[in-house]
Subunit: 245 residues, 2 copies
């Protein structure tokens, strides 16, 4: 499955600016299929907000009613800021991170977002396969329409875009060998600088924990290995000189 | 740590509507501290977009320059849509999900977002502890300002709103002063061990990033300060001996 299996469906959006914002955030995360159910006229505001997502907006499929969604998709996912217990639905909402599992399955999936003011009707939600809820502060759970879309698309696509980052070696973690060398160099420096056994062990353990928690890159490891080695050399060299003279 | 330890900082935002949108999404996710560096006048558009987040916008701290951020926070986190290899070696970005680790530590953290058109300057990013990147389509990575904020705050708070984040035993985060001393001791060691200016700068920057990413504790900082000091002393002492004899 690719991101093209997902369509963003806006049901009766009121403000054309929001449609533009949705088109832009779709482009940011690599989605392209936009469906508009009974939308307003797309004017200046929509174009201004869409930025480089304008092609998505212009290629949007326009439908006259919610019912026309049926039969077009394998899965209909309703989104709501109101959770099950609030409204007494018989269904339990899933979280955005659960939906990213659908990346492992096949089919066309509609991510359906309701009106800015009243969201989706009970009837519309009932006709969907899943109800999705973006976790938020119960005191004010109603997100701006394009923010709801953005957060869901971010969650769905982040594995893909970070996978890409990994390929480009940006997040290339240090290898086991590099970590071993880095710890050896640091430990050697500790042995040169610190006499007390307890303090030596504490320093070594601490450095190892810090390195692990920081998820350091291969390049960073190499820089740190370099400086540890140089510092160790400087101590040794001067010691030798001092003892020779 | 609570969400109140985080401040959202907008650096020279152009459009007051965006400030309103940011205030709203902050309210949605339970954040309240907003800092505006050299903002425009907050007019009708800002109030319209802020909705129930209007109090956050009205209580925002206004600063005249980026420099005024220094000293106000324990950690400065820069955000950028441009990643390391795109620009230069000094930028190794972390992901939003990495930042949620900070929920386990103490301290005041500034989440810093740049201008709508040109983001943060290199100099501004250099003066921060961490660089954060929201994974997105490299063909069009520039998110709308309030979307960037929303996605980061969603990632930080989702554990809380889904109730999954249990109260863990917190460890004492190192203070700004301890961090300063640790960096000074390490930098002094680098200057003693490494002659080349470029390599010195790279080593210092790398260590700062590692320390920031690992969110080390006060005790760990103290251990590391001890070993850096000892190593520096060992080099200096032996140098002195060598030159005296």
């Amino acid at each position: 499955m690719t991101l093209d299996n997902f369509s963003v469906v806006l049901v009766e959006p009121k403000y054309d600016g929001n449609i533009g914002s949705v088109a832009r955030i779709m482009k940011n995360f690599g989605f392209s299929r936009l469906v508009l159910v009974n939308p307003p006229k797309l004017g200046k505001e929509a174009r201004a907000m869409a930025m480089h997502g304008r092609d998505i907006m212009e290629n949007a499929v326009k439908l006259k009613s919610f019912k026309q969604l049926e039969g077009r998709f394998d899965f209909l996912v309703a989104t709501s800021s109101v959770t099950a217990t609030d409204k007494n639905y018989l269904r339990t909402p899933i979280l955005p991170e659960h939906l990213s599992r659908t990346l492992e399955v096949k089919g066309n999936i509609a991510l359906i977002f309701g009106r800015e003011d009243i969201g989706l009707s009970n009837e519309e939600i009932e006709s969907c396969d899943l109800l999705l809820n973006i976790p938020s502060n119960p005191e004010y759970p109603t997100l701006n329409l394009s923010h709801s879309v953005g957060i869901l698309l971010y969650e769905l696509s982040k594995g893909i875009w970070t996978g890409r980052l990994k390929k480009k070696k940006k997040f290339q973690e240090l290898s086991g060998v590099e970590k071993k060398v880095l710890l050896e160099k640091f430990n050697a420096l500790v042995d040169l600088a610190q006499k007390k056994d307890f303090d030596r062990r504490l320093a070594k353990k601490t450095f190892r924990q810090i390195i692990s928690r920081a998820f350091i890159s291969s390049g960073e490891a190499s820089t740190m290995i370099g400086i540890m080695r140089k510092a160790g050399d400087a101590i040794r060299r001067n010691k030798d000189k001092a003892s020779k003279q």
